[in-house]
Amino acid sequence: MVSKKRCLSRRGLLKLLGAAGSGIVVDQWLGANVAIAQGPVPEKAMETFTGPGPNPHWNSVGPYVTEPQKVPLILLTDRPVQLETPRHYFRTAFTPNEAFYVRWHLDGIPNAVDLKNWKLHVEGNVNKPLAFSLPELMNKFKPLSLAAVNECSGNSRSRLQPRVPGGQWGHGAMGNAMWTGVPLRELLDMAGVKNGSLQVQFQGLENGQGPEGFGSNLFLKSLDLANPVLDECLVAYQMNGEPLPMLNGFPVRLVVPGYFATYWTKCLTWIRVLNAPDENFWMKTGYRVPDTPRGNTTPEDVKAGKVKTVPIERLPVRSFLISPDASSKIPAGMNVMLRGIAFSGYGRVIRVEVSDDAGKRWMPTKLGDDHGAYSFRTWEVPWTANSPGRYSLAVRATDEKNNTQPDEPVWNPGGYLWNRIERQDIVVGNAG
């Protein structure tokens, strides 16, 4: 409700007479006391859910919430905690720790870690089981730093048609950080992986209320020992030069460059070498994608039992327009900078292009600093719309393996691997 005085008060009249000739005071007086036309309406709240159509917003629609060590982020769920990063935090190549998205699977999330007792264990099918304290990880090994994007497998799930159950993320279940820690390979070599070993399993401090042996009890992920990504993995005790926030995996988390975040075990405490394939729920049933191009399939094929699945792996190439974000109009003729980010789990981004005519013509953009193959890469390009109207800006990236974002959507029952070209409608106003 707008509460306004609708008539000219006596004091207002005197003020006007006394201020005759002073434009500024007249402005104030007009603004404060006269309501000739309809006044601005109060801000409305975002809708509380979207669907059955796709979520039309860049982010998910939940309320803001303040969690420990975090700025207000968008709440998906509170127990276990899932929080999305608002769009404007992606203006820079590195995502601030306090704004970095959060995704847990089970509700037993640590509120405290006592570093006097905590140790990282390397165990299982090894010659010499080992355990490292945080000071040992920091001092016994030469620290290595690398920039890498952490993206949730279900990022942008709310775009799928038909909608699928699961975390209804907008585009903000991703972030880029400079991770510092110990190469996983050095820890494995020190413990000595026995011949005949197949996989290495990762377990953090997270646990749930479900019975033993179920996915609701423990969250476990494994990688094949033959997978070359193991040589790039890091056991990180720093994120952007700071300790990790508890919700992002303090004291250490696994970094699997180019791979989806499901493998980036938080509060990593057990590294377990296996001599048989990991058949726990989170490998055998969860986080699997159709073994098809882009992981694409149809509800009919799933129903018919035709879909063979494989564990999800690398991040497909993606790019985003971050600003302008359509929250304001742009005056016609004004030259504005279009800015955004791009990344790929298959190699460095070499090209980002923008279109303002629904993808008919594409113009090149200038790429920002190269922080490494697995980092966000910023891009920018100046843009002017000379006539008022609605413009659909589209952005697409290409990586060094020549993967380019397609314009076709993706659908699979898990809601994974979404990477089509994104569009943003921008309103250009009459500049007078």
Partner: protein, 136 residues
């Protein structure tokens, strides 16, 4: 007399137009009682130089569940492993999918919800959270 009247109307009319134009340019000073609510800052927590690294409890804001039969079963059983915000966060889903979601909790995740209560839960979800009937 007629001319004077005309002049008055003219002056008044231009005044209204002038004020209107000014106003359109200078619309300002409008406030309204808060509609969106505010997000309170957390106070800094006391930190000690010991080996224990602790954060506050993770907040669970109240969730707006549809009233109706089965709500109590939702609040008891679903809440064991996760807060019922997992329901309101979903998009509207087809009725059959709600049934399979509840079955997944029992079969895949071992939730151990008695059959009768599981049935009440999916009937509740089907009555309030499909594209045809979802309101909140």
């Amino acid at each position: 007399m007629r001319n004077r009247l005309r002049a008055i109307f003219l002056v008044m009319g231009s005044l209204v137009i002038a004020v209107g134009l000014l106003y359109a340019d200078l619309k300002k000073g409008y406030y309204s009682p808060a509609q969106l609510g505010s997000v309170q800052q957390a106070a800094p927590i006391e930190l000690l130089p010991d080996s224990n690294y602790e954060v506050a409890a993770f907040p669970v804001p109240a969730v707006d569940l549809a009233p109706g039969d089965g709500l109590q079963d939702v609040q008891i059983y679903c809440n064991t492993c996760h807060s019922p915000r997992y329901i309101t966060m979903q998009p509207p889903l087809p009725a059959a999918m709600w049934e399979s979601e509840v079955n997944k909790m029992n079969k895949t995740f071992g939730a151990g919800i008695p059959e009768e209560n599981a049935r009440k839960i999916f009937l509740y979800l089907q009555a309030h959270y499909t594209a045809e009937n979802r309101k909140r």
